[in-house]
């Protein structure tokens, strides 16, 4: 009895792997994701900011993907005008799709919150702007000093959250991170050839902006 079942398992596996080698693999080798015209590569500063994002583990609380409206309510919530497609991520190395939404999705945060000052203060102390937030503060992305030199930017902080004396100066790291966040915009239209859709999608304009 065992031999028969083991043979059966082996046969199933052989079929499955044959399917993969003969059909799926050749198909995979033929197509490739192209960069969409609406998406520009990251600038040097944005890439530096992306590194700051990675180094401080932002991905462990924030996702970067908008799911399909037939599946869930990401679009209705205002996290994007359309679901994310593979082409949105061509310049992302490594990916930062994320698996937790302790905080909101960020793939379109540059559309939703385009104000650099908001981001700088929010990073310094999230609860200065969002009282119910449980996001950690990032004071170490800033410099606390007695007085700022003329070429430095001082962060305006509400009195309750700022230091007792001196000023808080924005570092290049913080500026870069904010530049990256503002670059997170994936609201350009993607055409009907945008390849990947979950099953069950209706016939009309796959992923196209409506």
């Amino acid at each position: 009895m065992t031999r028969a079942i083991i043979l059966f398992l082996g046969a199933m596996a052989t079929l499955l792997f044959a399917l993969i080698i003969l059909i799926i693999l050749p198909n995979a080798m033929l197509s490739k994701v192209k960069a969409p015209p609406g998406l520009k590569p990251y600038t040097q500063e944005e890439l530096l900011g992306r590194q700051v994002y990675i180094r401080n583990g932002c991905v462990y609380c924030h996702s970067q993907q908008v799911r399909d409206p037939t599946f869930t309510t990401d679009v209705a919530r205002g996290w994007g005008s359309r679901p994310s497609v593979p082409a949105d991520y061509v310049y992302d190395k490594p990916h930062l799709l994320g698996t937790m939404r302790t905080g909101p999705d960020l793939i379109n945060v540059g559309v939703r919150l385009p104000d650099a000052q908001w981001h700088l203060l929010h990073l310094y102390q999230p609860r200065a702007l969002v009282p119910w937030s449980i996001m950690p503060p990032y004071p170490f992305l800033f410099e606390h000093k007695e007085t700022a030199t003329p070429d430095e930017t001082v962060l305006t902080i509400p009195e309750a959250f700022g230091p007792k004396s001196g000023v808080v100066v924005v570092t290049d790291e913080a500026k870069a991170l904010v530049a990256y966040l503002l670059a997170l915009k994936r609201d350009y239209p993607v055409n009907a050839q945008a390849p990947v859709q979950p099953e069950g999608e209706t016939g009309e304009g796959e992923g196209a902006n409506k």
Binding site: I6, L7, G10, A13, F17, L25, S31
Partner: protein, 82 residues
């Protein structure tokens, strides 16, 4: 692109195909025969003959029938921890 992730496909094959070969080897090598003996190979000599205090009378007599006269628990016997 996910659909065209050749790497994932190749990895799936690299991980899945060798087991198929080992499976064939195992079948030829007789690994799927004498299963009862193999399942008892983990026991030490006499290990199956010790009286186990949690066993019900029916289980005890089953053990005696299969493995022979039961040996009593060693010096201070089995004791409960919980």
């Amino acid at each position: 692109m996910f659909a065209n992730s050749i790497s994932v496909i190749l990895l799936g094959l690299i991980i899945g195909l060798p087991p198929l070969l080992f499976l064939a080897w195992g079948l030829r090598n007789g690994q799927f025969e004498n299963l009862d003996e193999t399942s008892e190979a983990i026991f030490e000599e006499e290990e199956l003959r010790y009286l186990r205090p949690w066993e019900k009378p029916r289980q005890v007599s089953e053990r005696m029938q299969k493995y022979g006269k039961l040996l009593p628990a060693q010096p201070e016997g089995w004791r409960k921890w919980l």
